[in-house]
Symmetry: C2
Subunit: 464 residues, 2 copies
């Protein structure tokens, strides 16, 4: 946990945005795997963690604006709990460390909220993403579980997003740590991958790095010879000379902060010439995007710049043609780059995605394009401000199913040379990704240095 | 997946126990970590896996006894799914491989069940342990989520338990594999642990073994210098010369079968004399319990034998006194051995615990003792039959909080020498655990050989 003043300060900043009402925070429960007492690694809800810092299951809290009080609801360990799980900090101690002096039994939350609702007070809650909390909110507010999210408080969401979007110095230290551990994971994969190994062996080795540091993964590892499959969690393939390995993985620190990095490297010691060409295009797009990062720039423009750079490179390869400005604005490049250039990062790898992309990545003037293929997967579009932490992760992906679909419909045939695309059907995919913080003067790459240029990557691979 | 005839056969055996009605199976959903699309490793529900073998989220199925049909409900991948997650076996193909020819859209389940209920047909379901499935059942049957489990079908539970309790030859091959991977995990920990290492480093290394094999852990690793804390998932301590490391960990194979092993070893190369004495007692209890394993023996007697052997050893150490038969039957030994000697194992590490211990480990004549400390944590009591797979895991644990509590109440002071116990307050805990199948002639230890005697363990530690 950070110092208690950090949490007190955060809650005060939040409280000042409300004249009245109650802000309700539901922490996470333990998630059962295959029976009640066999649970996944506990992960506290990120907003709960941000305002209260306590990593225990079964908690909830309120900030009562009118009563000017903060109450934590939860139960102390019983002697049975101590026998089975060891003596830990009491809840009262943990609350004290978060600057909360009032702790009540978990069961008292129901009465607190019922009474407030009876008094016609406004109780704000955030949209739930876990079924347990949907059920709890459904019961507290007498709403059908499926419809609970629709009653979440937009004012509460916006206030939390505004605050969590700007990282403080002590948060940046944690994120730097997360990204450096992630860089260790990346370097290890780049060092140990050999022809004949299974993807699962490399994935297991880098997972170990995250665990050894006392945290875990920020998200499931993507480590695959099929880099064109964007969210690939299959690790059953064997690495073969000539393949590329795409490794998208990141650590979560003990404090809950995420890193998110991607590197693509050859299973052999060197890239072949076609791989070099495509890699160079992706790296150009990365550099062009990174070059634009600064306060007041719209991330939408960073994305456009990345797309344009990719499109120019693809035209050089003979895969695209025609007026590229038009091609990109109409979305033709999305045959090769189906997703967004980046997203916010912090306590969540896609920071605050549970609160809604429209609030985190967009605003009332910069609305998300929810229809155009490619843009609809861009999680961040609005102006950047100092303290934002985000990823830059352009890529080129050849997805046979998508190519076939578009070619059959003759989609964008004025911009795409489908004959030439046939040569790349089995190419796979390439992505590079780093994490940045927007600063007063531009941006700063987070975490330790990690091989990214063709030469740097081949140097690591050559030393194997 | 096993061959389709395996699943067809299992469903037929189950169906024959019902004259009419519908058996409803709900598969598991993806479990969100910190937002909807960042999910924990998917784990299918074990009963769904047993009867249908398909490891995909969002499925459900019915065996309609009257209509003599089996229907799988779920949705095929969209083109967006294929772009993001890659082309996989279609649901129709997966269903075919499980011997199911009828696949309907996921949304059609609601109508199927509504129609059946309208016709006053009996729809059997198993008790849910995940909130998503509580919500689904709540909506399907119009029951408050908290009360859904009370309406689960006892006939269905008993039929599933009867079938899953007796492992087939091909299941035993998988369990053997799970236990052998678990033995690799144990041996690695025993080989690499060094003074100065963090518990998390050793835990990470053995987690890697499970992942490398294409599966994962069967349950969260317990790897701790505080072995007296029975369900300890903290890995922040540093290993010190003189400490014992208790490692309770097991792999889950790709097919979903579990292994569950425990070894306790010194951080240095050798046990000290007191550790040797306590270890010997635990090993004697293990051997005595294993010696009793055979069909028709009540596991309650295996447990009693383990407890008696522990009590005799503890008397030898001067920690217990008086008539040990009485002491054990009244539960005095539970100050040192607070839990059960073993449990069923299979697709779940505590096999079928979601279906209810009273059905899995007990029956109508051998009821669980739910009040006596110690016995109330024994998950298995009934007669063993050939094909049962179970653990044997006696231990001795010195839990300061429990010692203080009992001593203050003068509990069992006729059997416990509290003065002498003081010398052991900081001893920690020792457990050894292996997995067995009951055979026609007795029992067989599962998995590859693994150091367990004092000499064997010291030999591994000495070679470090």
């Amino acid at each position: 946990m950070f110092d208690k003043n950090e949490y007190i300060g955060r809650r005060e900043v939040l409280s000042r945005k409300f004249n009245s009402g109650i802000l309700l925070f539901l922490g996470n429960e333990d998630s059962p795997i295959n029976f009640l007492h066999n649970t996944y690694r506990f992960r506290q809800d990120s907003s709960f963690l941000y305002y209260f810092g306590i990593q225990k299951s079964g908690l909830s809290a309120v900030i009562d604006i009118d009563e000017q009080q903060v109450v934590l609801f939860g139960d102390e360990m019983s002697i049975d709990d101590i026998v089975w799980m060891g003596r830990q900090k009491t809840l009262k101690e943990a609350a004290f460390d978060a600057g909360v002096l009032e702790v009540r039994a978990g069961s008292e939350l129901v009465d607190y909220i019922s009474y407030a609702l009876k008094k016609k007070r406004n109780v704000h809650f955030l949209p739930p993403y876990r079924a347990e909390n949907k059920t709890r909110l459904s019961a507290l507010f007498n709403i059908v579980p499926d419809q609970v999210s629709g009653f979440a408080s937009v004012a509460f969401i916006k206030a939390v997003v505004a605050q969590r979007s700007v990282k403080s110095e002590i948060e940046l230290i944690e994120i730097d740590k997360a990204v450096s551990i992630s860089a260790d994971m990346q370097l290890l994969a780049m060092k140990i991958a050999r022809p004949g190994m299974k993807e699962s062996e490399v994935a297991a080795a880098i997972h170990m790095v995250a665990l050894s540091e006392g945290g875990d993964l920020a998200y499931p590892i993507i480590l695959t010879v099929n880099g064109q499959i964007l969210h690939n969690h299959f690790y059953g393939n064997t690495l073969k000379e000539g393949n590329l390995v795409l490794n998208d993985s990141g650590a979560e620190t003990e404090m809950g902060y995420a890193g998110d990095l991607t590197r693509t490297f050859p299973v052999g010691k060197t890239f072949n010439s076609l791989q070099r060409e495509v890699y160079s295009i992706v790296l150009d797009a990365y550099s062009a995007a990174v070059g634009l990062l600064q306060a007041d720039v719209q991330y939408l423009d960073v994305h456009r710049k990345a797309c344009m750079t990719l499109a120019e490179g693809l035209k050089g390869l003979g895969l695209m043609k025609g007026n590229l400005e038009d091609a990109v604005s109409r979305g033709a490049h999305a045959l090769f780059f189906q997703c967004g250039t980046g997203h916010m990062m912090g306590l969540d790898v896609h920071d605050m995605e549970d609160l809604g992309e429209q609030y985190v990545g967009y605003n009332d003037t910069i609305l998300k394009n929810t229809s155009q293929f490619g843009l609809k997967s861009l999680r961040l579009g609005k102006e950047l401000v100092s303290g934002n932490v985000l990823t830059v992760e352009p890529g080129i992906y050849f997805i046979p199913e998508l190519i076939d679909l578009w070619e059959a419909k003759k989609s964008f045939s004025e911009y795409i040379n489908y004959e030439k695309v046939k040569d790349f059907r089995s190419f796979g995919g390439i992505r590079v990704e780093d994490d940045f913080v927007i600063t007063a003067n531009g941006s700063r790459k987070l975490g330790k240095q990690l091989a990214i240029s063709l030469d740097e990557v081949e140097e690591v691979r050559g030393s194997m």
